[in-house]
């Protein structure tokens, strides 16, 4: 028999002997391969996403958008004059902050929108249009719109769908003609750049601001803020104009970094999960070999006595685990071809672009090689212990072992439960094994606790999301008509029993400029921030004085500003300096919110008056019912009137409805401040005026939040459940294998103890208690890691509240889970027959 044949025979015999443990280990290796391989392939995939996007869109890398009223043709020449800049293109686009559109349910949603003609789009990118409609269907569309792919991927628009855009009181009805790939304003999170017909562009031109786009590539990779700053100064010097308030920059590098971070975070979580399993596999192999050597020591002696070398025995162990690992890698490898495309499709949803789903096979092969190498290495090192047992010593059951330097927990000091004492004794006697176990359970606990914290925060509690939104999540958000006194209106509402609180404010309808950073933010002005319920500073305090403001965490990171710094604000060419008193988390408006008091706002704009009322209803009051009540009392809002297509009612009612619709359009679109009308119908004169409109619009924020964040909540819930499930499976397999091996290794001792009168249940309890110190330490370490990870995440996405009692509850559940798994994992103790042991 050749040496290799001997080695494989020994390996195969060992595998067959412990089928259950082998299958468990195989499952762990399979999971490890699946997660590690897929995430690694995903990482390679991400690296290719951006070059793929650039190639597919044919887009320029950087863009400068400048309000047409500031633009001068010379600016293009200034940009071309920079050495690092090459290939400059010029196009025009209409752009609007905070446009509303009607979603599939007919509800208004806010969105940044840009409009461009196909000819202009092709100047800055390929703009290849894709549609599923026929030529005839396309020709039949009166107002076609071509949307970025993200609208299809994340907003689920399909060709032929209606897309109604609302400006003021005017609705522009478009039909989705198809989709195209773009880099600039490609997702709902940034903005959507829509391609419209020349005719529609001209129509929108009358109501939207036009911007000139300068697209350029920068071969030195310096297309960011420094070049922008130089360019802005040069343009201002040339034009003698302050152009900053009309300037927007878009840089490929910043886009790539932001997007890669989000995707990388997802993959990092999966890699962390795979790392837990790798650790577990390493630990299990190490432990299994140790147990096997102890159990098989006499057989090893016999093998050595009949001529097997210790090297052959070590190699047989290596072969055994390599066979198991290879068998686990095969289904894991194949599974990667399903999981990787799934991960990439998640990536598509995140980046809003179609990504190649091809799996990076070299990455998978690299993972296989890594796993096999790790398994072989650990098996080789641990099985090396066989060399310490020459045949005589092995045949004497390794006599010479069990020289203990220290006696742990002598039984003479037992004060209460002997089983607990023996369990703790076992823990200390197997300290190295306990360290390995602690490491594995720590990482798994960290994963479970971390995902639970996220689940509690995002997936379970909508209020938590509201508290992170950075805006007040009142029941109704009432925007008043220009000239209306918001404070008086709030006072009127407050007198009603349904209303708990009514706060006058300005939210989102004023944009403030931070000229030093070319950034804009939505004005969030309150008379006193202490009345707010959802805006809470994550760091520092609320602004109180007229020279103070609070920024979002996102803005502070973007501009590298901290609490205590000063910053300049600009509105209508007036600039004032403010002290940053605190930072707040904001998941709305792309994190571009600026918080300041009314007095601080008046310092910047003396005519400032609040224009909005946040209405908080008493418990049990239905927001929609109260909204109808408001309509009855104050008349319809301008937005409602503009959308009203009622053709029922009396002739006079229909005439009044049409008159109100016309008033709504005049006031909403053209800024008309007052309208009177008189219509003669036969002998009768129907008269009215715009004074009846006090409310511009009413939004039910809770409902919008539910719509917008419901899917996020579902996704997080699903992810955390999957995460916890994998961690639980891994911990369960570890503990089962550990317990089975321990029972096998300690078969003799357990049999003796049974003989002395210890019951199987008592011995199972002892073994389960033995792992509890490890489990307890692990849970503490895991919780600390999870809290630290949450803190790390907080610094990126804002404050994440930790519900410590709930976390302690999860910790307890983990401990119980470990105990139960260990207890039942040790069930083979029941099969140990004292009689067989005594007569063996």
């Amino acid at each position: 028999m050749s040496a290799m044949e001997k080695i494989l025979r020994l390996s195969w015999a060992n595998i067959r002997k412990r089928k259950l443990e082998t299958v468990s280990l195989l499952i762990l290796v399979m999971l490890c391969m699946l997660l590690m391989g897929s995430s690694l392939a995903g990482v390679f995939g991400i690296r290719n996403i951006f070059p793929q996007m650039m190639e597919h869109t044919g887009s320029y890398e950087n863009f400068i958008l400048l309000s047409a009223k500031y633009y001068d043709d010379e600016f293009e020449h200034i940009l071309r004059s920079y050495d690092s800049v090459e290939e400059v293109a010029h196009a025009n686009m209409l752009y609007s902050y905070g446009t509303n559109y009607l979603d599939a349910d007919g509800k208004e949603q806010a969105q940044y929108l840009g409009f461009i003609t196909h000819d202009d789009a092709m100047k800055i990118e390929k703009a290849e249009l894709e549609t599923t409609l026929t030529e005839a269907e396309l020709a039949a569309i009166e107002h076609p719109v071509w949307m970025p792919y993200a609208a299809q991927i994340t907003l689920h628009y399909r060709c032929g769908d209606h897309y109604d855009v609302i400006y003021g009181s005017r609705k522009y009805a478009f039909t989705v003609a198809g989709f195209y790939d773009t880099m600039l304003y490609d997702t709902p999170e940034s903005a959507l750049k829509l391609i419209v017909s020349d005719q529609d562009y001209r129509t929108l031109q009358s109501v939207l601001d036009e911007y000139d786009i300068l697209a350029y590539n920068d071969h030195q990779g310096q297309g960011g803020t420094q070049l922008m700053d130089d360019f802005t100064k040069a343009c201002e010097d040339y034009s003698n104009n302050d152009i900053r308030s009309g300037l927007i920059g878009w840089y490929y590098d910043a886009f790539r970094l932001n997007t890669a971070f989000t995707l990388g975070f997802l993959l990092a979580i999966i890699i962390a999960m795979a790392a837990i399993i790798v650790l577990s596999v390493a630990f299990m192999i190490r432990f299994r070999i140790a147990a096997d050597i102890k159990e098989q020591i006499v057989s090893i002696g016999v093998l050595e006595a009949i001529g097997y070398t210790s090297k052959e025995i070590v190699l047989s162990y290596m072969a055994e685990y390599l066979l198991i690992a290879a068998a686990g890698c095969i289904p894991g490898f194949l599974g990667c071809f399903a999981l990787t495309p799934f991960l990439l499709s998640l990536g598509e949803t995140m980046v809003g672009h179609y990504i190649s789903h091809s799996v990076c096979v070299p990455a998978l092969l690299l993972t296989v090689a890594g796993i096999l190498l790790l398994v072989a290495g650990i098996a080789f090192l641990r099985a090396g212990a066989v060399r310490h047992y020459p045949p005589v010593r092995a045949l004497r059951k390794g006599q010479g072992d069990h020289r203990f330097d220290k006696e742990y927990l002598p039984l003479r000091n037992t004060r209460s439960n002997v089983h607990l004492r023996l369990a703790m004794k076992g823990f200390f006697q197997n300290f190295r094994q306990s360290i390995g176990l602690t490491l594995c359970i720590s990482v798994a606990s960290a994963a479970v606790v971390f995902s639970f914290i996220l689940f509690l925060f995002f997936g379970f509690n909508m209020n938590a999301i509201a508290n992170n939104a950075g805006i007040e999540m009142s029941d109704l958000h009432i925007q008043l008509m220009p000239g209306e006194d918001a404070k008086a209106f709030a006072g009127e509402l407050l007198a009603e029993p349904e209303v708990r609180k009514a706060t006058p404010t300005t939210v989102e309808d004023m944009m403030l400029l931070l000229p030093d950073y070319n950034q804009m933010g939505f004005c969030m002005a309150f008379e006193d921030f202490s009345v707010t319920e959802n805006i809470r500073p994550m760091e520092g305090r609320f602004p109180e004085h007229d020279n103070e403001l609070m920024l979002t965490v996102t803005m502070s990171k973007m501009m590298k500003l901290r609490t205590g710094d000063t910053v300049t604000l600009e509105y209508l060419h007036v600039k004032r300096q403010y002290l940053i008193t605190g930072l707040v988390t904001s998941t709305t408006n792309g994190g571009a919110n600026i918080y300041l008091t009314e007095e601080a706002m008046k310092r910047l704009y003396p005519n400032y008056r609040p224009s909005t009322v946040e209405v908080y209803l008493e418990d049990g009051v239905d927001a929609e019912a109260y909204r109808r009540q408001l309509t009855q009392r104050y008349g319809r809002s301008l937005a409602d009137a503009a959308q009203d297509k009622t053709e029922s009612g009396s002739y006079e009612e229909r005439i009044r409805a049409e008159a109100e619709r016309q008033i709504a359009e005049l006031m909403g679109t053209y800024g008309v401040s007052h309208v009177e009308y008189a219509i003669q119908v036969g002998d009768e004169m129907i008269t009215g005026n715009s004074s009846s409109f006090r409310i511009k619009s009413i939004l039910n924020l809770g409902s919008i939040l539910q719509t917008q964040l419901g899917s996020l909540s579902t996704a997080i819930t699903a992810a955390t459940v999957a995460f916890s499930l994998i961690a639980a499976i891994v911990v369960m397999i570890i503990l089962f294998i550990l317990m089975e091996s321990t029972v096998r290794k300690s078969r003799r001792e357990l049999g003796i103890m049974k003989g002395m009168g210890y019951t199987s249940k008592e011995l199972m309890l002892q073994l389960a208690f033995r792992i509890m110190p490890s489990a307890l330490i692990s849970v503490v370490i895991g919780t600390v890691i999870a809290v630290a990870c949450t803190g790390f995440l907080t610094s990126y996405i804002g404050r994440i509240g930790i519900n410590y009692p709930a976390v302690i509850l999860v910790d307890t559940v983990i401990l119980l889970f470990c105990f139960i798994c260990s207890y039942f994992g040790a069930r083979k103790i029941k099969k140990i027959s004292v009689y067989e042991l005594m007569t063996e």
């Binding site: 069990h402 039984l411 003479r412 002997v418 049999g751």
Partner: protein, 254 residues
Amino acid sequence: MMGTSILHTEKLCKSFSNGGVQQHIIKNLDLEIREGDFTVIMGASGSGKSTLLYALSGMDKPTLGKVWFGEEDISAYSNDALAVFRRKNCGFVFQSIYLLENMTVFDNVLTGALVAQKNSPALVQKAEELLKKVGIGEETWKKYPNQLSGGECQRVGIIRAVINEPKILFADEPTGSLNSASGKDVLDIFTELHTKGQSIVMVTHDIRTALRGNRVIFLSDGNVVGEYEMPTYGSDDSKTRREGLQDFLDRMGW
């Protein structure tokens, strides 16, 4: 004077399946163990001595028949109930000794004691006294079994077995793995225990060991084929005792 019955069997049978073939080791055996007796079970190899010992002690369940401990039918007990029965009523001394290798001498003794009774200074004191009595000095208490001689190990094994003051002490070839000097020491301990009233059931195939008992039961082919009674060891002439037992064993075909 005959002691009262402490343990008896009723048509006890024990079989094992070997490659699908049933092997009947104990066959319809009726036996009574009396309180205070030093009962020695002898027989040829394969006669079922150890099997009987383990069935009597609740280490193993009979295939058929009953084992009565006083008024209790222990053959109907579950495995865990049998374990509780053993801890309360039985002590064991084995040929292979079976000390726990990962525990010190003292802990080996206390492991057996603490499962049956709560720790108390008295229990520790008792363990110390018993160990000293069998010649295991304080310097040895913190040693591990593989640091002791075979005789020392067996003495520790005996102390572990008797510390709970069991109603019956079972011993399976307790001197089988010891040299003659150590074997004698161990047997002297058994004799002393018996003198103090300890009921002992011992399996042996050694006539010198059997001489320590006062009742010898001879097994053949799974059943009792002969019984021989002797005075308590030390109360008669050793030569006469030896000749009497030898004569009995000769008649049994030993």
